[in-house]
């Protein structure tokens, strides 16, 4: 079975947030609950100010700390490499949110950042968080793999669009949105990326496009020192480094 991974070319990424929007729509997320986001960093002032950005999905780590800390086994590593949450086991303790070095896990039971509270505009039916007018079809929703609209009081996260990639034919090397044979199995953020900055393929296959890109263009991983070993690689091109700082300005400076 393929071990899926993603490559993001920062030289191509324009920071347009189309990936963020596609993810929100594909996965019926609440406003602000951005499984995929683009982070912005600014340094200096006009005329020499510098703006940089970093698209940040879940890293689907090889050695995920979020899985290690989960006291119930709700967070787990799937065979195809995706890090998922079983919503039927999650107790909402939020320890995985504490333990994820990349801040990519979410808990919907919080005061909403935008008003009116969209959960009251589209109130939920049953145990779900909300019931948006445009949503993933019911038969695609899969709480065991954290896909669809989550129940109340559980943690949610990017699934690498598990409902798509898990349907890819066995032996597929790369999921290329430009190939009609694989487009439907490709994660929404990859499909929608206008400058084609994202690539998705089998990290265990030395013939895959993603492996070649990592090798030829010096793919690097975010916070590799944590030992989590992300399955999302960045191509920084001629930039000296990916803008990986997690914090804001130091109060001492």
């Amino acid at each position: 079975m393929a071990r899926w991974g993603m490559v993001i070319d920062l030289e191509k990424c324009t920071g347009c947030q189309a990936c963020t929007t596609a993810c929100l729509m594909e996965n019926s997320r609440l406003p602000g609950e951005m499984w995929q986001d683009v982070l912005f960093y600014s340094e200096g002032e006009y005329p020499s100010g510098k703006l940089s950005w970093l698209p940040r999905p879940c890293m689907h780590c090889e050695n995920p700390s979020c899985v290690a800390v989960c006291p119930t086994g709700a967070a787990y590593k799937a065979e195809n490499g995706a890090v998922l949450i079983d919503w039927e086991k999650c107790i909402g303790c939020k320890y995985c949110m504490i333990a994820c070095p990349y801040g990519v896990r979410f808990y919907a039971e919080e005061k909403q950042k935008t008003q009116p509270d969209i959960r009251n505009v589209f109130p939920p039916s049953g145990d779900k968080v909300w019931d948006p007018p445009y949503k993933m079809p019911e038969h695609v929703q899969d709480p065991k793999h954290g896909v669809g609209i989550q129940p109340k009081n559980v943690v949610s996260k990017c699934t690498f669009c598990y409902h798509r990639i898990s349907k890819a034919p066995e032996g597929t090397t790369d999921l290329d949105p430009n190939d009609p044979a694989t487009r439907d199995f490709t994660p929404a953020c990859v499909v929608t990326c206008a400058p084609t900055a994202r690539f998705f393929g089998d990290l265990d296959n030395p013939e895959s496009n993603v492996r070649k890109l990592i090798a030829e263009k010096r793919g690097t991983r975010l916070l590799d020192q944590t030992g989590n070993r992300p399955q999302v690689y960045y191509l920084a091109g001629e930039s000296p480094a990916i803008p990986e700082t997690r914090s804001v300005r130091n109060p001492k400076t």
């Binding site: 119930t72 804001v248 130091n250």
Partner: protein, 393 residues
């Protein structure tokens, strides 16, 4: 067995015929009122708004409820250590407060678990998902196992000494196992935070020791707080004056110095370091909770306990213990906030994570303390908490 026989059997364990002291009535009435108001408010908000009634967020995942839970659990472990000083280490002078310490330890756990049940997303699911998952890599799983074991052992220990069995082999075995568990449990709770390398403000191998030490200090402070309210001449234990007037206050003073030493090390290291995420140490200087801890929790009680002639007085002990309890209570909250203040990968524009507990979260204080005080008043009335061993070993 008839109902009357059941009543007779129960009466052997519970003193229903004893008239409650005024203090017991005040504790029970105050606790019931405070608990009822707190719980009613929190339940109402949770039913109408769910956990959105809390000001926690995806960036500040753990807030005030976890801090309050920490306070009660660590205090419980410290009380359990006090209860072991006599039976495990042979420090016989602590026998007069052993039974009270075990009871306080039990009700601290109950108050802490009650708060956790209100905070956690799916508390009922936890009851089966946690024990059957066997997630041995998770420090939180171990914490659950150890604190559940702790509670069971405390119940057995209390039953044994309540029925007069202070010195049987079984009683001593339970006391020793309970002591080991009450060290491991807060230590593991320290690991829940200390192991998190991705949260530099928490990441420390000193965290388990810090939790055990501060839990023990809070426990000594609790004992001073509650025994200073008691009419002290009513107990028949021979060394009780020495215990209340000299040993406990002196122990409290030494522990305060130890807490100050460890906190000084933490604060100075944090302020000095440039490591990303540790700027939270500078940000905490702007937090009122931090200064409540330093001034009310550490400086004032230490000054009050420094002189032998002063620290002997019950009123001084009561005030110093109250100040320390308040300070350590808010220090737990500040610790929680500090570890999450610097956001994880939100970009420069997001800023630091702002958090102030909501009214619902604050109301967990009267809820938890109410449950605790009610149970303590009832226990003090019905369960002969001043009992001590009778030198029959």
């Amino acid at each position: 067995m008839t109902t009357a026989t059941y009543s007779d059997a129960l009466a052997r364990y519970v003193d229903f015929n004893k008239k409650p002291e005024q203090m017991d009535i005040a504790l029970m009435a105050g606790g019931a009122l405070s608990g009822a108001i707190g719980l009613a408010f929190v339940f109402y908000m949770l039913i109408t708004e769910g956990h959105s009634a809390f000001n926690t967020s995806s960036d500040m995942a753990w807030g005030a409820p976890i801090a309050f839970y920490l306070f009660f659990l660590l205090t419980s472990s410290g009380l359990s250590i006090i209860a072991s000083l006599d039976s495990v280490f042979g420090l016989r002078v602590f026998y007069p407060i052993a039974k009270r310490a075990v009871f306080l330890s039990i009700i601290c756990l109950i108050a802490g678990f009650s708060i956790l049940a209100l905070e956690i997303g799916r508390p009922f699911r936890m009851l089966w998902a946690l024990p059957f998952s066997l997630q041995i890599r998770s420090p939180m799983w171990w914490m659950g196992v150890l604190y559940s074991t702790d509670l069971m052992l405390l119940f057995v220990k209390f039953y044994l000494i309540h029925t007069g069995d202070w010195h049987s082999r079984f009683s001593h075995l339970i006391a020793r196992i309970s002591f080991v568990v009450c060290i491991l449990a807060p230590g593991t709770l320290g690991l829940v935070f200390g192991m998190m390398a991705m949260r530099p403000a928490w990441h420390s191998n000193v965290m388990p020791m810090y939790f055990i030490l501060t839990g023990f200090t809070t426990a000594v402070s609790f004992m001073l707080f509650f025994t200073s309210l008691l009419p002290r001449d009513k107990t028949s234990a021979p060394n009780v004056d020495e215990l209340y007037h000299e040993i406990l206050p002196r122990l409290f003073f030494v522990l305060l110095l130890a807490v100050i030493a460890i906190r000084f090390g933490q604060i100075v290291t944090g302020l000095w370091s440039n490591f990303e995420g540790l700027e939270a140490n500078w940000l905490q200087l702007q937090s009122p909770f931090f200064w409540i801890e330093i001034v009310a929790g550490l400086a004032l009680p230490t000054a009050m306990m420094a002189f032998d002639s002063v620290r002997r007085r019950p009123l001084v002990q009561f005030v110093a213990a109250s100040l320390f309890n308040t300070g350590i209570f808010f220090s737990r909250l500040e610790l929680l906030i500090m570890g999450q203040k610097v956001p994880l990968f939100k970009g420069y524009w997001a800023g630091y994570v702002e958090y102030w507990p909501s009214l619902t979260e604050w109301m967990l204080i009267p809820a938890g303390c109410g449950v605790f005080l009610f149970l303590y008043g009832a226990g003090n009335w019905l369960l002969r908490l001043s009992d001590t061993e009778r030198n029959n070993h």
